[in-house]
Symmetry: C2
Amino acid sequence: MSRAEGRLDEAGLIARFFRPLAAAPGAALLSDDAATIPTGDGPDLVVTTDALVAGVHFFPDDPADAVARKALRVNLSDLAAKGARPAGYLVTLALPEDWETDWLDGFAEGLAADQEEFVVSLLGGDTVRTPGPLMISVTALGFAQEGRTPRRGGGAPGQRLYVTGTIGDAALGLRLRQDERLALKWDLRRDEREHLLDRYLIPEPRLALAGVVAAYAAASMDLSDGLVGDLEKLAEASRCGAILEADRVPLSRAAARAIRADPSSLTDALTGGDDYELLLAIHPDDVDAFEQEARAAGVPVVDVGALVEGAGVEVESNGRPLALETRSFSHF
Amino acid sequence: MSRAEGRLDEAGLIARFFRPLAAAPGAALLSDDAATIPTGDGPDLVVTTDALVAGVHFFPDDPADAVARKALRVNLSDLAAKGARPAGYLVTLALPEDWETDWLDGFAEGLAADQEEFVVSLLGGDTVRTPGPLMISVTALGFAQEGRTPRRGGGAPGQRLYVTGTIGDAALGLRLRQDERLALKWDLRRDEREHLLDRYLIPEPRLALAGVVAAYAAASMDLSDGLVGDLEKLAEASRCGAILEADRVPLSRAAARAIRADPSSLTDALTGGDDYELLLAIHPDDVDAFEQEARAAGVPVVDVGALVEGAGVEVESNGRPLALETRSFSHF
């Protein structure tokens, strides 16, 4: 077999090699943020795993505590998206030969800080040597009310689309990280620049909203590969289309300033990865109660569009279609 | 911090950096084969993870299906040791740039074959690129009767020690793999040579015994780092000593022939890794029922010694202490 034939992207690779192995209903054909397993009379178990490779998913010189927190938080974000409360996590660490005590001290401190913040505890793991780069694989376990896990495919035309927090900060933070001159071009104040860099470095898993997600979301996912591309996945799984009103997408002050100064960076904000905010489809009858309970949980949510009949995602601005150069981000 | 200070072994590294994070009782301070999580009214969840790195844990030219099966089976073996029935597994694959379709076809075929053999299904995973070697991390989930998971530390003086299957085949298989001239030195027939090589390549998780383990084992672990060293861990966790009667340790015909031809290879058999058999401590009152039910489950078990007052493991042969050059094997 030629190597050229092997050039599948991650989704193609999963579809071809791994989907046929995922026979359990709770595996959702590997097309969701997490799998669910019934436990008999108890709650459903929710399980997810995500790996980070140095030089691919984070910069080798990122602070060790931030790397640890990101590795844990991207998994906790998946639990939040499925309305689950965390039960624990496992860490597998592949360490290169030149690992340093200092680095592992920082890594453990990052985990300890987040264990306290999210009331979660380490359950196990594995430590192996590798001649390659450092790699961290985290598996997070959670519990959800039996049968109440919102799937990506639970949406239907007419439902409103909500996102948590602000969108695009991490993608703009990544661009700043790659080219620090952009801070000048985007006219950013120092605290705004740091806000974007921090949001790339350490995402905010929306576990505080998990109960509300379980109660109200018809469909739900976390945003890891960019709002537009991830909305396409949710709409496709729900067998409908979507309209995204770009002007309603919540932006931080820093992101808003960057986009004003450089309108092309709107594409980064809407299609870049690493938001780790939630995207939720809410039935119109539930929007008032949902908004009220989200407010009570202290998590900002904004209505950014709707699911519609048809297929595909239309991004609108001022009532007109907005052309985007790219749609989605891939870490693979 | 100097690199020299960083040269902890895997156990030291876990103790220093990760044990302080493992506050949940079910994490067993990271000193067991698997963690347990209560699920409320349901069974206990049992979870374990093990990673394999190409060039470290397997040979880069091992058949892809065998690599897949080993990655899954070493985790299923941990479930068996904790008396759990498997509920599913996740696979994280770090793929180097030059991955081949053929390799992944074989890998998926290996998983499919074992899914059928052990009635288990893929729940999820992650696929990432790495500039380093191929790495596979598997997390296996299982269920066990509430509160009935035998720990490494449940042993007490007077209990008998049992192992399943035969010991040392994989360690001798690894030596054959490293130096094929040993087949001649050990006077092995072709099928015996293949038996040892196969046992290194594809372990046999003793899931058929899981129910018997849950019912009878006071202490239990799977053998991954060599019988003597692993028995030291079980005895230490149980705060007692152990006597291992080397002459009673069950050997395959191939291993027995190798040891007859080259008595020094007994050390490899008793201290080499990758057996993935079970080591169980059974109360004397239970040995008859245990042996009978193990036989009914079709899993050979042999009494190889006893837990005793004191500390440490004494290996005896013909009633005299046996000196071993090494005690344990480390993949790290």
